[in-house]
Symmetry: C3
Subunit: 115 residues, 3 copies
């Protein structure tokens, strides 16, 4: 296990439907903004909106990427997301296996990622 | 993307039933201890209890909040949870979109959160 | 809530089937490499492999442990996983309830964990 050679993060996004979740996952991976995505289905979200407790069915999208792509990634997710204030934050990866870490770097390196 | 103006965290809780999970989610959001909750269903938990491997169906509750509410949040979760030693830990949020971060601060600010 | 007495982490693994996910969970808990595991089912993974976007059904395994076991844990997961480059990374636990933290330490302490 190693501390990542370059800072890597997990981005956490919630989406109001499977379609939006899969569009975020497919687009960001295709454009090498994220190395991979895990879409967790059937999540119940609870939040307060204008003083009232709301409950929605959502899907959580976990995106693994390098820190240097986070700005672009968050802008792209916003462009694909219907909400005015989409949930988007990152958690820093502490340690990672060298081969998986290398794969994340390659997959988000626009020049290598296309081939 | 910005480093949160005030420290923000994700709290991770496991609940033995959907009822307990939703009670934790609804109560902590209503009381402005968390801005929002995502309840992940149908999780299989594996752990050792008194030397024996146990497997239970559980629900994971992800709570997004400010660090300053964590002490109160963990005490409230414990008061709603049937287990003697509930799973409760936090992960520090590294970066967040300014609008979603602002919403978390507003939603956990007891004075503003009620209106 | 306290900062863990010893560094604790959450390990994040994806598995191609429920069988692999449960084998990873059961084996690592039995061998005191992790205190407990949460297996999240029916996750859709999106990634690029040799230039093509792939979508698979996977299961996410969340393993809670002490930092000192991570090297051994990652090697054991690799030995149980069919993929050439399994997804394995850790996130540092920021704060934890003293009793749950104590339980993680006891459960991953090979001498105490057996009894």
């Amino acid at each position: 296990m190693t501390t990542p050679a370059v800072k890597m993060v997990v981005a956490y996004v919630t989406a109001p439907s499977k379609e939006v979740a899969m569009t975020v996952a497919r687009t960001t991976v295709t454009e090498a903004l994220a190395a991979c995505a895990n879409v967790i289905p059937e999540v119940t979200s609870v939040y307060k909106w204008q003083g009232k407790i709301e409950e929605d069915q959502e899907h959580v999208v976990i995106l693994k990427t390098v820190e240097s792509k986070v700005e672009e990634l968050s802008a792209r997710v916003r462009s694909l997301h219907p909400a005015e204030t989409p949930c988007f934050f990152t958690l820093a990866i502490d340690k990672i296996t060298p081969d998986f870490g290398g794969w994340i770097v390659d997959s988000t390196n626009s020049s290598t990622a296309k081939h």
